[in-house]
């Protein structure tokens, strides 16, 4: 039986990760003697895991419904792509993928020629230990290898229809690649502390790894947000769902971390900060895994509840996090950091790091407050968007201002003289003029929104000056920060201009909303293979163009689940987003029309930010 083979290979790889960890700690001071041995054992354990997963994928593609997990989450009618993605559609399989990605990162890191053997070997040991811990978790509490014996069902259960979507199929793997990628800075910085080789510049060795992981995290979050927008039919791009927040926290920490890493690599300042952030990022990733998989939180994302799993994960995560912090607490004083002056690029970056930490803590509070409240008072509450908005908006504005000013400062201090004809003055004037224009045009009353628009444009314009006027340009920095500017402007304009309206339309009736004529041409009842559906055909005329939008409402037989299939007309500045509602007693149909302005720019800017990592990697390669 192939599934048994896959199962045994997993067990074997778990055992050999343990062996690898033991050896590397045993020979912690003799890296030269043991390095090839440890390297080989680690690679081979990874191969075992890869083959085990490969077999599992093969079983999923070939519809082996004797495997309980595949029987529960796949179906022979699914296209191959979704048969594969069904592997990460629930807890057990997605945990398997999570571990696989951890091993893939470890594998490539292991191949990489190290600049310091000792530190690298110990980090491989730490990564092996983490892999071992998660393998034990997988095999003991959430095995995807359980079989249905003696008789396998003829076909698999229906997969959750909302999950049959390309963006969603790619969303978890991308996010996981980001989450687990931070195991490398985590392991490397602990190993750096253990060996006390403080003269070694560990920051350069992991810069590329951290930046790639950050990009995956960024793209993963963007994919999830994009999917929620068109599939769930609520028309928003961010919902402040606890699990979204749990992905946002490592992202914020990682953003602070890669900036701090740059400071430490170039100037040797703030080294203890950088290490603490490295520990924080991975700890928050583990926290994310814990929150989602322990069933502590009710969410669209969370998996089925099982207290045993929660307790195991809790114990394992607390060992990793507390022991790493313990090592840090005992060694950080020995990290001789160069003192930096108050007004210098690095001090501005650390101010922004503090702001980011503030955001992380506030978000953590928003996630945990309902839990603490429930524990103390036995009542459940939800913390919603108003809380987060009131924290994120002002802090983002302050951070953006520091960002713009940090362009004007050198690494070691001294604000370059800002004359009247300096690009910064022009940027401020231009941004001010644009904001003033928008203020006039749209009568914006919300002062925070105005300021956000102003700082967004300030970043964009200032970086355009950098792009066209400087002799030296750092493309990566340009991409990431220009992207951030676009993101701030897009979010502000989106919340300012977007509007929606619920219309009730009879057949062949036309109504007008903000200059857009909408005619309900017909309603058709359709029968899909596993659902009934009602489809509306709407003729939309926005003055310049005319097109048909076809929103749909489906009811799936098996779960009785109702899904709304939206239809969206994308134009450069706005989306026309239509969903179909119920039929009223008088025979008319509810149609919800939303005009979502600049929403595509939100994801585009995130992709742009993620692309920055490519330039950083090519830069690092050229330098070495």
């Amino acid at each position: 039986m192939l599934i048994n083979l896959s199962h045994y290979m997993s067990i074997l790889s778990g055992a050999s990760f343990l062996l690898c960890a033991c050896l590397s700690f045993l020979f912690i001071k003799q890296a030269d003697a043991s390095k090839s041995l440890i390297k080989n054992i680690f690679s081979n354990s990874c191969y075992l895991l890869f083959i085990s997963f490969g077999i599992y994928v093969y079983l999923a593609i070939s519809d082996d419904f004797s495997v309980e997990y595949i029987a529960n989450h796949s179906n022979s009618n699914l296209p191959v792509f979704y048969k594969i993605s069904s592997i990460w559609s629930a807890h057990e399989g997605s945990m398997f993928v999570w571990i696989l990605f951890l091993a893939i990162w470890g594998y490539f890191f292991n191949l990489h020629k190290p600049s310091n053997d000792q530190i690298k070997m110990t980090s491989i040991g730490i990564i092996s230990l983490i892999l071992f811990g998660f393998m034990v978790f997988l095999l003991l509490t959430s095995s995807p290898f359980t079989q249905i014996l003696p008789l396998a069902p003829e076909n698999g259960a229906d997969i959750n229809p909302v999950l049959q979507d390309p963006a969603l199929a790619m969303h978890p793997p991308t996010l996981y690649l980001g989450y687990v990628g931070f195991v490398i800075p985590f392991a490397y910085s602990i190993s750096f502390l253990i060996h006390e080789e403080y003269s070694y510049s560990w920051e350069r060795a992991i810069r590329s790894w951290s930046v790639i992981a950050w990009s995956f995290l960024t793209i993963g979050i963007a994919l999830g947000s994009w999917w929620a927008y068109y599939e769930l039919g609520w028309g928003g791009y961010w919902f402040w769902d606890p699990v979204e927040n749990v992905a946002l926290m490592p992202w914020l920490a990682a953003t602070a971390f890669i900036h701090s890493l740059k400071v430490s690599a170039d100037t040797r300042a703030h080294r203890s900060w950088t290490i603490l952030l490295a520990l924080l990022v991975f700890s928050l990733s583990l926290f994310g895994a814990f929150i989602v998989r322990s069933g502590i939180i009710d969410s669209v994302h969370s998996f089925a509840n099982d207290p045993e799993r929660g307790l195991y994960l809790l114990a394992f995560c607390s060992i990793i996090v507390l022991s790493s912090l313990f090592i840090y607490a005992n060694k950080y004083e020995k990290l001789s950091s160069k003192k930096s002056t108050l007004i210098s690029k690095q001090s501005f970056i650390s101010i922004n790091n503090i702001l980011f930490i503030t955001l992380i803590f506030s978000t953590m509070l928003g996630v945990l407050y309902p839990l603490i409240f429930e524990y103390l008072y036995n009542e459940k509450i939800s913390v919603g968007a108003p809380f987060y908005n009131s924290i994120y908006i002002p802090i983002t504005i302050i951070a953006a201002v520091f960002l713009v000013f940090s362009i004007e400062i050198n690494w070691n201090g001294s604000l370059s003289k800002i004359k009247l004809l300096h690009p910064l003055s022009f940027s401020i004037i231009f941004a001010f003029v644009i904001t003033l224009y928008l203020y006039q045009e749209f009568e914006i009353k919300n002062i925070l929104l105005l300021i956000s628009l102003f700082v967004g444009y300030l970043i964009i314009i200032r970086y355009l000056f950098v792009l066209f006027m400087s002799k030296y340009i750092n493309i990566a920095s340009f991409c990431a920060h220009f992207g951030l500017g676009v993101l701030i402007v897009a979010i502000s304009l989106n919340s300012l201009l977007s509007s929606e309206r619920v219309l009730n339309l009879n057949i062949n009736e036309t109504k007008t909303y903000k200059g857009i004529n909408i005619t309900l041409e017909q309603i058709k009842v359709l029968n899909g293979s596993n659902y009934d559906s009602i489809k509306g055909f709407l003729k939309v005329n926005d003055g310049a163009n005319q097109y048909i939008l076809e929103p749909e409402k489906r009811r799936y037989f098996v779960r009785g689940q109702i899904t709304t299939e939206t239809d969206i007309k994308v134009t450069p500045i706005k989306d026309i987003y239509v969903t179909l509602g119920d039929q009223l007693d008088d025979g008319s149909w509810i149609v919800n029309i939303q005009l979502n302005y600049f929403i595509r720019y939100i994801w585009a800017s995130m992709i742009m930010m993620a692309l920055a990592s490519l330039f950083i990697i090519s830069n690092t390669r050229r330098q070495s």
Binding site: G233, W234, F239, D241, P242, L276, S283, F290, S294, I296, D298, S299, V300, P307, G310, L311, L314, C317, S318, V321, L322, L325, F326, Y328, A329, N330, E333, L368, P370, L371, I372, F373, E374, Y375, Y377, N378, E379, K380, I381, S382, G384, A385, P386, E500, V502, G560, Q561, I562, T564, T579, G581, D582, I590, N592
Partner: protein, 176 residues
């Protein structure tokens, strides 16, 4: 000072872990379920859709469910399919829309479906305050104009069969 910092970075996460430990290992058999009886508070509210006025419990069905919800509440969205399920069994549910905006609430119902026979609109949470609601969702069982049980948190199949159904059977409630 440095020792305080050391202590701090270990103790803060340790506190979290200890809290989670207690949270996970606690024997929770529906702590949100209460069966204290009390009279339905006096109120004066509009309905969400047609702004019809509801005055006191006589305008409500004398026996039924009242569900506190809001469009901003994620747990309510999680709970929603089960309420639709109850509606399918012809169980009358009055919605109490809690600290919400009318437009958002109406949209929410249009998008996901409306499980309620009537929705009271309570933007300030005045009735909810008198009912002792601290957050959404919360579900009240009304019988002969009195509240005989309420559950704070998400009602699902398991909660329903293990908490509400026994009370319903005990009081011999037929046409909920």
């Amino acid at each position: 000072m440095k020792n305080i910092f050391k202590l701090f970075i270990i103790l803060v996460p340790a506190t979290f872990f200890i809290f989670f430990y207690f949270y996970l290992s606690e024997e929770k058999i529906y702590p949100g379920f209460q069966t204290d009886e009390f009279a339905f508070p006096s109120f004066y509210l509009e309905t969400l859709d047609d702004e019809k006025i509801f005055l006191n419990e006589q305008d409500l069905p004398s026996t039924g469910l009242l569900n506190v919800w809001a469009s901003w509440c994620i747990t309510c969205l999680v709970e929603h399919p089960f309420l639709m399920n109850l509606k399918g069994k012809d169980i009358k549910i009055i919605g109490l829309n809690y600290k919400d905006e009318r437009f958002n609430a109406q949209n929410w119902l249009n998008k996901y479906g409306d499980p309620y026979s009537e929705v009271l609109y309570d933007p300030k949470g005045s009735l909810a305050l008198d009912l002792g609601v601290t957050g959404a969702p919360e579900t009240f069982l009304i019988h002969n104009g009195k509240i005989i049980a309420h559950y704070s948190g998400e009602v699902n199949e398991r909660v329903w069969t293990e908490t509400f159904l026994p009370i319903i059977n005990k009081n011999n409630i037929k046409n909920l």
